[in-house]
Symmetry: C2
Subunit: 128 residues, 2 copies
């Protein structure tokens, strides 16, 4: 199938699918006459896999690792679990950061009148 069909089936944009070909993540065969990329169902399965992994916040490089584990039928689940635990840890870090940011900002907002006068505890804090 052509790229737009593969894109539709994997719910990715054509541009993204082409990008994944460029970075050698999912390299389809080529139609010799037209030069068009020619995707198999297997290629689409890989695209789907990557799309889902990306939505799970795995980076492109992590997707590459997962994809190679996915394709290796003799792999152990240990490595996959390790990657996933690392991802959870990094998400936890971001959660912590954002939680504390949220707290600080909402504290400041609560102190700010938000009226037409110039006095502003938010700016005061930022300039300390």
């Amino acid at each position: 199938m052509n790229i737009s069909q593969a894109a539709k089936l994997s719910r990715l944009s054509v541009k993204t699918v082409r990008y994944y070909a460029d970075i050698k993540m999912v390299e389809p065969a080529r139609n010799i006459r037209s030069g068009y990329r020619s995707y198999t169902n297997d290629d689409v399965a890989k695209l789907n896999f990557i799309g889902k992994a990306r939505r799970f916040n795995f980076s492109i490089e992590e997707c590459r690792e997962l994809l190679s584990l996915y394709q290796n039928k003799n792999r152990s689940s240990k490595e996959v679990k390790r990657l996933t635990l690392a991802k959870i840890a990094s998400i936890d870090e971001k959660l912590k950061e954002f939680h504390s940011l949220r707290n600080e900002l909402s504290h400041l907002v609560n102190c700010c009148n938000g009226d037409d006068r110039p006095s502003c505890p938010i700016l005061d804090e930022l300039s300390k």
Copy 2:
């Protein structure tokens, strides 16, 4: 003072301070003989302000807005409060996303043996 002194006082890197000059956020005077950037205490205060706002997750463009409000002694606190509330809302969105990611991933991890056998519910989910 020269750029490295300004960088030290504002706890930013020299590269970053130079970058803020390039994008016309904090444009110092120049020493005519050497061409070196010459920072005043006021410039350092601005750098500090930006550094803090960046740590609060405000984008460069938002920093620009905040900085102009900061410098306008007749500003109303309304606008600052509006920007800050919008920032809180966007942080809340990210928190939500990351929370649900975390839940899904930790569910998968709990289902995965993490041993030397190939069976892996994480990969199974990603390939669905």
